[in-house]
Symmetry: C2
Subunit: 199 residues, 2 copies
């Protein structure tokens, strides 16, 4: 497949591993992009906690500890990362249970579902069964736009329709766009209110 300009089409799929030897500039920039989305969410959560708006925390990354050296305090000398079987964030807003996952993608016209583990799909399915509020915060890196998308769409596209991605156009239609502001930069709870707390 070729674009009108004659260049080959290269799908910009997300890879799980970083490229083997990225230039330090590319690495920094990619790192910043990912980090900035996560740190924007964490900053919003700090802001919400301080202002008494809601209480949402990031779950620690699960780590399997193999060996601990107690000779100098308790230094972990052998351990490995485990897959998060739930989502990254959960908490409480107006008594309701909130559970969400944040994903950033380099794709331009769709949100790829390949990197969403099936345990996460199962977890979010159960959150909805128990009347919790479950969604994804999806950032399209190239255009810098962020959307809240109810988890049911992701569950359906993943498990019912067996699709590999969700079109951005659909996300625009059924999701809620989160505008970047000043403080907090990513005021996602506004979208939560609009989506789930409107009468």
């Amino acid at each position: 497949m070729k674009y009108p300009n004659g260049k080959d089409y290269k799908p910009t799929t997300e890879s799980k591993k970083p490229a083997k030897k990225p230039s330090s500039k590319a690495l920094l920039s990619a790192g910043n992009r990912g980090m900035s989305f996560e740190s924007d969410i964490n900053a919003a959560n700090d802001y919400y906690r301080e202002k008494g708006i809601c209480l949402i925390t990031k779950r620690p990354t699960p780590i399997n500890v193999v060996k601990v050296d107690y000779s100098k305090g308790a230094i972990i000398t052998n351990a490995y990362f485990e897959k998060q079987s739930t989502t990254d964030y959960n908490g409480v807003f107006k008594g309701r249970y909130i559970d969400f996952e944040a994903k950033s993608t380099k794709q331009k016209v769709s949100f790829p579902l390949a990197n969403i583990p099936s345990q996460q799909i199962e977890h979010l399915t159960k959150v909805i069964e128990h009347q919790g509020i479950a969604f994804f915060l999806i950032r399209f890196e190239t255009v810098g736009r962020v959307f809240l998308l109810d988890a049911q769409y992701v569950i359906d596209f993943h498990s019912k329709y067996k699709r590999k991605s969700i079109p951005l156009n659909l996300i625009k239609e059924v999701g809620v766009e989160i505008e970047y502001g000043l403080n907090p930069r990513l005021n996602y709870i506004k979208a939560v209110k609009e989506k789930y707390f409107k009468k």
Copy 2:
């Protein structure tokens, strides 16, 4: 202070560090006691998830990763445990947010508050502010009895009354005792229903 039998009174305070060289038998037994309470709660959560009763998960222990060796996959070679700034468990039951901490004590007539970090008190205070359900599961090891105690009592005894412990007699009066059963062994959600979902 002496007991009627002439023996010295030794307060059996919980120590943060394990004794330097416990006998292997004592270590095993102490480990089992602690583990069994935690694993009873985890088993109950597994049961609740499978039966669709509620969705409550244990937060991973936060670990600060200092060094990762990527030469053989991603082995963490230097890291240390961080203090949990929230609680160990949270989740959703009938749409409501649930948040609790499990504590086991060797004390016989009171629940000591010394090992409850102030961040946990702050966290639980905020959970209540946001209309979440917050409690402690307290196990008295020597008698093998477990109680659900609303977190507000712990917050008040800790921060308002500046007490070092909560008397078991009060816990019996205002808490809900959780009887050990068969499956799940520790059916704590029954106490949650009784305490927070009664009309």
